[in-house]
């Protein structure tokens, strides 16, 4: 009952590990994948990056601020991680690719290594120039088109809420050939340190995730669903089954989980069983009946 097809990926349950969350080694991804339908890796580029110095997170009562800075070992190293994951787990692996660091090269290497899909990250609000990139509709269109011309696996584009019209950008991605949209990345934020009286993070800007951004994620998914017919992976503030179901009703075919893993690494299990119970009590026979239902007049 919890099975969905998302751009050709079969996900059961319709829950995905969000990018940047533990997607570092094959073994941890295999461990986390147990209760999920698919996993997304951390965002990878052509070059190795160490990310920003500590502090890289600041927990809030209602979410998390982070400025990791896209640490990653580079695709030359990471393709081995992909291969190893494919040996350890049958779950689809979506490889997140940094949009500003040779995405074509990285994506094709990832595909060769066995990636089941690529997620193009054009939306990190504090690193890699991705905020600016993700807001430049022309550039996004070009990258998506170029990537599609070389890839045979599905391509998702991960969008930022820090944009005027996310529906329009999603539409552009669809027209350029994207197979799906992932929304949302973190919301651009700043934290001031009351002791140093300076921004807490060395990068000044950081990203807000967790419960606080859930109503924003639902809005973005709702807006995107109005504009495109490709599937949406809804991400942002999913902390329980209710928040997951809201995203599905708003238009998400599957739901990503990130920050909530700080509460419990196996939280997806609970979320999946909550969705199942909701479906039973409301008389839904499949997840696909629920997708985008909030748009029906």
């Amino acid at each position: 009952m919890l099975k969905v097809d998302v751009a050709g990926l079969e996900l059961s349950p319709p829950l995905v590990l969000a990018s940047g969350i533990l997607g570092v080694t094959a073994k941890i991804m295999a461990r986390v994948s147990e209760h999920l339908g698919a996993i997304t890796t951390k965002s990878v580029g052509a070059r190795r990056r160490e990310g920003y110095p500590n502090p890289v997170v600041c927990p809030l009562p209602y979410g998390l601020l982070n400025a990791m800075g896209l640490p990653n070992p580079g695709i030359d190293y990471f393709e081995e991680v992909i291969r190893e994951f494919k040996k350890l787990s049958k779950k689809p692996i979506i490889v997140s690719v940094i949009g500003s660091d040779s995405p074509e090269y990285v994506s094709s290497r990832a595909e060769e290594a066995g990636a089941d899909a690529i997620e193009l990250n054009v939306s990190c609000p504090h690193a890699g120039g991705l905020l600016e990139l993700g807001m430049d509709i022309e550039q996004v269109r070009r990258i998506v088109r170029d990537l599609k011309s070389i890839l045979s696996i599905p391509l998702f584009v991960k969008l930022s809420p820090n944009i005027q019209d996310i529906g329009k950008l999603a539409e552009t991605c669809e027209k350029a050939g994207a197979d799906g949209i992932t929304a949302i990345n973190t919301v651009r934020a700043v934290k001031i340190d009351l002791l140093s009286k300076k921004p807490l993070f060395k990068s000044i800007y950081c990203g807000l995730s967790g419960a606080a951004i859930h109503p924003i994620a639902v809005r973005c998914v709702y807006e995107i669903y109005e504009k495109v017919s490709i599937p949406i992976i809804g991400v942002g503030g999913v902390v329980n089954w209710e928040s997951a179901v809201e995203l599905i009703l708003a238009g998400a075919s599957a739901v990503g989980i990130g920050t909530a893993l700080t509460q419990d690494i196996a939280i997806a299990k609970e979320i999946a069983s909550g969705i199942l119970e909701y479906m039973r009590s409301e008389g839904f026979k499949s997840v696909s009946e629920m997708i985008g239902l909030a748009h029906k007049r």
């Binding site: 533990l22 570092v24 160490e50 890289v56 809030l60 998390l64 990791m68 070992p73 690494i265």
Partner: protein, 269 residues
């Protein structure tokens, strides 16, 4: 665990380059073996084991090895810093009536709290604290105040001569529960010895900590079929788990997420 403001109440050099910090900062009651992320304003946030906690006062034992630890050790009474914690999983410190605790260098920090917490519960612990060479009188005093302590130095300059494990070995073989913290080569010896004599063992491990809340994947330590987050599944692991961790005493992730050889002992010292 939100970031909280802590206020330095004392910063004393207890041995050359090793400081005792007392910080007033109300935290959720920590377990021995848990750690905090500490950040002097404007500097990095680093992991430090909890060396003591009572009545809203946190004790840390800090080796001044780099910019942040040096800044911490130089703090004056009244200075403030950010403290986030307690984080991670600690020792199962109440599980046995008697136990041996083996420390290497500043690995003494979490064991001080452990021994003290056990004492408060009426449980006995023999502490073997090993150092390279002579340590300061204040540190020795601090350890001796805990009770049953043996000091060992590799050069024999004070206490028993030899590394902590060889000095502790006869106690370990007679014990059913061993706690340890220190460089991984030392911990390996402790674990091997415990496994061979059938003693239960728990070690506090270290890896590079970024998020401290189990989601960034910076601190993974792994084996063929296990992947553990030092910050959230640890930092304390039991012997059964450690023997499955092929990374133990060998590999660690660097800051980019490449798995690289562990140079020297502790990845972070």
């Amino acid at each position: 665990m939100l970031k909280k403001v802590g206020r330095v109440e004392e910063a004393t050099e207890v041995s050359s380059g090793i400081y005792l910090l007392r910080i007033s900062c109300p935290l959720k009651e920590p377990y021995p073996g848990q750690f905090v992320m500490a950040q002097p304003p404007g500097l990095e946030e680093i992991p430090l084991s909890i060396a003591g906690y009572s009545g809203g006062e946190l004790k840390l034992i800090v080796a001044a090895v780099g910019e942040t630890t040096r800044a911490l050790c130089r703090m004056d009474v009244g200075d403030r810093l950010w403290v986030r914690g307690p984080l991670g999983r600690g020792f199962s410190y109440m599980s046995r009536k008697t136990a041996v605790a083996v420390a290497g260098g500043v690995g003494i920090a979490p064991l001080i709290y452990l021994v003290d917490a056990r004492k408060r519960e009426g449980l006995k612990t023999k502490l073997v604290a090993g150092f390279k060479s002579r340590v300061g009188g204040k540190l020795i005093q601090l350890l001796e105040d805990l009770g049953d302590v043996v000091i060992a130095t590799e050069d024999g300059s004070i206490g028993a001569k030899g590394d902590a494990v060889s000095v502790a070995s006869s106690m370990i073989t007679r014990s059913s529960m061993v706690f340890a913290c220190g460089p991984e080569p030392m911990l390996r010896k402790v674990v091997d010895l415990c496994m061979s004599v059938g003693a239960a063992v728990e070690c506090s491990l270290e890896r590079y900590i970024k998020c401290g809340v189990g989601i960034c994947g910076a601190c993974l330590i792994e084996g063929e079929e296990v992947s553990m987050r030092v910050c959230a599944d640890g930092p304390v692991f039991d012997g059964e788990t450690i023997v499955k961790l092929s990374d133990f005493d060998k590999l660690a992730l660097d800051r980019s997420g490449c798995k690289v050889p562990l140079h020297g002992g502790c990845p972070s010292r």
